[in-house]
């Protein structure tokens, strides 16, 4: 079986933490969102709005191969 990998989309100021292999980002088995956030050096308080496959999730949510992970920092401009 292929190693698990996910797709990552980081919005706004978090874009600077996006890995080059964001479309095929390898994760260990049983990785959580927090593991990925830490691995990418994203400050945890900046990871405000997290979603996996178009559904809201949080730092403790488990990731599985093929998931699409999106993270928004706080955004308030108008």
């Amino acid at each position: 079986m292929a190693n698990p990998e996910i797709q990552i989309k980081l919005f706004a100021t978090l874009n600077k933490f996006a890995p080059e292999n964001g479309d095929h980002y390898p994760i260990p088995d049983d990785a959580t969102v927090a593991d990925v956030v830490t691995a990418l050096s994203i400050p945890k308080k900046e990871a405000k709005l997290i979603f996996i496959n178009n559904t809201r999730a949080d730092l403790d949510s488990l990731l599985k191969s093929g998931d699409r992970l999106g993270i928004f920092p706080p955004v308030g401009g108008g």
């Binding site: 919005f11 706004a12 100021t13 809201r56 928004f72 920092p73 955004v75 401009g77 108008g78």
Partner: protein
């Protein structure tokens, strides 16, 4: 003094109505912008009241003809009867009022304490070189009047800071559109909308990114997006990234669209769901917030 004489007004409208042809070729009757304005003056009524009566008699205020049949007469009447409060008249707000005034929302309450400055010119459609240092609320009201004189506008040069104080301005609104530029005031505005038991359409932008949702009184709301108000920063990523014009105009337009759907009961509204976008890579997705 306003004249409370429905049948007299109705027959005055009938007299001004002329035969016309609808865009699909069917015959209809229409009344012009000039005639609506004239009758509004004659009867000391806001123009939208004349337009409602015209539609009830099957006469199309011709300025709205291209709204049909995407909307029904009943939908247009619902928009004309509606009162919408737009808070924040910068980038989002300018785009919102442009759409709502043209659509024929009968009454708009416009609130912003700020003045235009040069840093607004890159994205705020209401800002112009010859309007720098002018109050945003005043410029917004003038813009609405120039687009559609039938809309009853009240403009307030005022920052929303506390629920108690600001509730009065909004208490007879059917919904509130949040076009603010900071997180702190957004939570205040949400409190007001919940107290008044009316929906809040809210959007926020930074850089080329934005998000949009509709919060009904029973929903958890902004806390699901930003966490608890006491831990939320007062400004978000826009402080570092600024805001590009296309995403601001797009999110404002989508806010107006959500408002129109709520008011007419048409379509699907983004309640408990969020539209997120990044125009840099054309990401546009709908998320379940549940």
């Amino acid at each position: 003094m306003p004249v409370d004489n429905g049948s007299e007004i109705r027959s005055a409208i009938e007299k001004r109505a002329v035969d016309a042809v609808f865009q699909d070729g069917t015959p209809c009757r229409k009344i012009s912008v000039a005639d609506v304005t004239d009758l509004a003056g004659q009867y000391s009524l806001p123009g939208y009241r004349i337009e409602i009566q015209a539609l009830e008699a099957g006469i199309i205020p011709w300025r709205y003809v291209r709204n049909f049949r995407a909307l029904s007469f009943a939908d247009q009447i619902a928009l004309l009867r509606a009162k919408v409060c737009v808070v924040g008249l910068g980038g989002l707000g300018g785009s919102v009022i442009e759409n709502l005034a043209r659509a024929g929302i009968g009454s708009l309450i416009l609130i912003d304490g700020d003045l235009f400055d040069e840093t607004n010119l890159n994205r705020q459609f209401l800002s112009q070189e010859d309007r720098l240092r002018m109050p945003k609320a005043q410029v917004a009201a003038e813009r609405v009047n120039r687009i559609n004189r039938s809309v009853a506008v009240s403009a307030h040069q005022h920052f929303v800071r506390s629920p108690g104080e600001d509730r009065k301005l909004m208490e007879d609104a059917d919904l509130i559109v949040d076009c603010l530029d900071n997180l702190e005031s957004r939570f205040v505005l949400e409190r007001i909308a919940k107290d008044l038991q009316i929906p809040l359409v809210t959007a926020a932008v930074a850089g080329s990114c934005g998000h949009l949702t509709v919060i009904c009184p029973e929903d958890e709301g902004l806390e699901r997006i930003y966490g608890p108000p006491e831990t939320a920063p007062s400004k978000g990523a826009e402080k570092a990234l600024g805001c590009l014009s296309p995403i601001v105009a797009m999110m404002g337009t989508l806010e107006a669209s959500e408002a129109m759907k709520i008011l007419t009961g048409r379509g699907t509204v983004l309640q408990n769901r969020m539209l997120v976008a990044d125009l840099m890579d054309n990401t546009i997705e709908i998320l379940a917030l549940g």
